[in-house]
Amino acid sequence: MTNPIRTIILGATALVAALLLGGCSAAPDVRYGDTNAHQNLSTDFGSSDLQQVAEGMVDSLLTFPPVIEVTKVRRPILSVTRVKNKTLQHIDTESITDSIRAKLIKSGKFQFIDRTTDQEANEEFAAQQESGLVDPRKAVPGGMQAGAEYLLTSNLSEIRQQGGRVTDVYYKFTMNLKNLKSGILEWSDEKEIRKIKTRGLIGG
């Protein structure tokens, strides 16, 4: 009569012990990864997608014949607006914008206007002009900044479809370069990324 009970108790104890030990055996594995390597962990818009998009767009812009023509003799002034997020995810679009702008700056073909730091710049101007601390001959005069000739705008949208265990996510990144003086759309391109995920059949 007691044997089966003992077996059950022993079995349960062994099971609990195994579970506890399994949870705290090894130290976490941390290593450096290649920033360009493809990391397909989920259908989310991830770091490798960001790299792909930024590189693809910048290459496309810099190799567009009319753009090559314009940038041959001088460096036009560009203003980059923040990427508009029209997806189903909270994406740090500022970071995509930064990547694109950094790549364009490194190409040496354009000059840039940065409107995101205007508030800080205004505070600095006020300090120089009004605080009485700065030598008026050395203070930066206001109203002398250059205006952008071109506006670079972009959109990121997402279409998500789900059926059974499969999730199919389609991203489209569109970018436009507009000539502010003439209003002409000088260049436009889009890049598509498609990710498909299948839920596992058996798991924990």
Binding site: H90, G203, G204
Partner: protein, 496 residues
Amino acid sequence: MARKLIFSSRFLPGLLLLLACLSGCAGSTLFVSYPRKVGPYMSAASSGKALDIEKTLKSEARGSDGVLYRLERGRLAQIQGDYPAGRREFAESIGLIRTADDQAVISAREAGGNVAAWLLNDNARRYRPAGYERVFLHHFQALNYLFAGDLEGAGVEVRLANAEQETARRRHEGELEKASAAAREKRVGSGMVRGLEDRFSGMDEAASAVANSFQNAYTFYLSGIVYEATGDPNDAYIDYRKALDIFPDNRYLQLDALRLARSLGMNDDLDEMKSRFRLPGDVPIPVREPGSGELVVLYEDGFVPPREEVKFPVPLPGGGIGAVAFPIYRYPWTPPSPLSVARPGTGTRRSTEAIAYVDAMAVRALKEDIPGIIIRHLIRTGAKSVASAAALRSNRDLAQVAGLAVDIWNVVSENADLRSWLTLPRDAQVMRETLPEGRHLLSLRAGGQGPAEKVEVEIRGGKFTLLHVVRVGSAMHVRQVVLGSPSGVAEGTGRE
């Protein structure tokens, strides 16, 4: 011998308890009903008492039903105007739901809960928020983003809410098919089951106020507002039209659809809607003039009703006694009472109009779940009658005692699953008005003998001012935000 032991009276309750604990005891509602756990916090909110969200339902939020308790915590935070805490809690819930959705189709953890549910009751199953709850989760998360001055984040959340509505619709269609197939297989529809189904018929009146549990015009409306504020009138128009399909008589929705149809040049739509709405006299379609802004009042009234338990003993097929316990709504549905919004000194008085009957959606969701509840009950009755029969067959001297113990266990362990998101509003209503730029005094009064409040709203040219009014019990919580301005949030002016 071993089999006999497992099913014998002395070890059965212990074994079942062990199973219950393995499937996650913390915050479990196996033996304490869910509404009883959340009730005290709802009473506190109703009397305007401030809660420390971190300490509210703390251990429960970490337990196996954390997803649900975090919904409650997030909503309680939002009601008392703590939008950042609300956002944090909802983000946790969204993460938990996502993990569950991404889980393998056959999952060990899920299976553990289901086995316990066969032996104990439905409370042992891990809580999966219903379609309408998922929609509201993203809806209220969008509101949290709006009050943080983040229009783009709100845009993501309303898109997620709309996607949830679509998913819920498809899931619902799939489940209808599955349920009818299962019903055929289990011969559900026989006398006993029909008797069970009759017990749910009292909910028909409330359920009939909505076509299904998940279509949510309130969410489409908020989505429309967000799209208008981000300068996407085309997207806004589509969502106002979707909301109109669900609530065709809401006058504010009608006017919004007409206004956008005209400004987008959709003349066919405009003519069709004009004749359909039959506007009294010559109601002017509002025009957005320079120097004026939009006031949008979002009014959420009361709490959604809790599920109640119906429990009665039934003889088990193999001898012995079991019990049937089902969740039910004993809820006579009444139309919502509007919030009156007057501008003292100008003689204007408007009222909010209903845009979501959340109570009816909750009742409907339970009705849609009945086939599943009945099937799980039948499986459980099978398991419990095996235990009962085994007890009767056991040691002859103890047979009666054992049989009685198992019967008591069967009755005690059978508890209805009363879990649902309880801090949702009973209903939602909206009002919209174009006002000149500047500050305006509004006098708000909830319907009947409800509380009243005076609030000064700030209107900015070409912008939306959202006035979020939540009435629970004798407390009226009023907060406002101007959309699309970087500084975002205007001071909350509500008093409790």
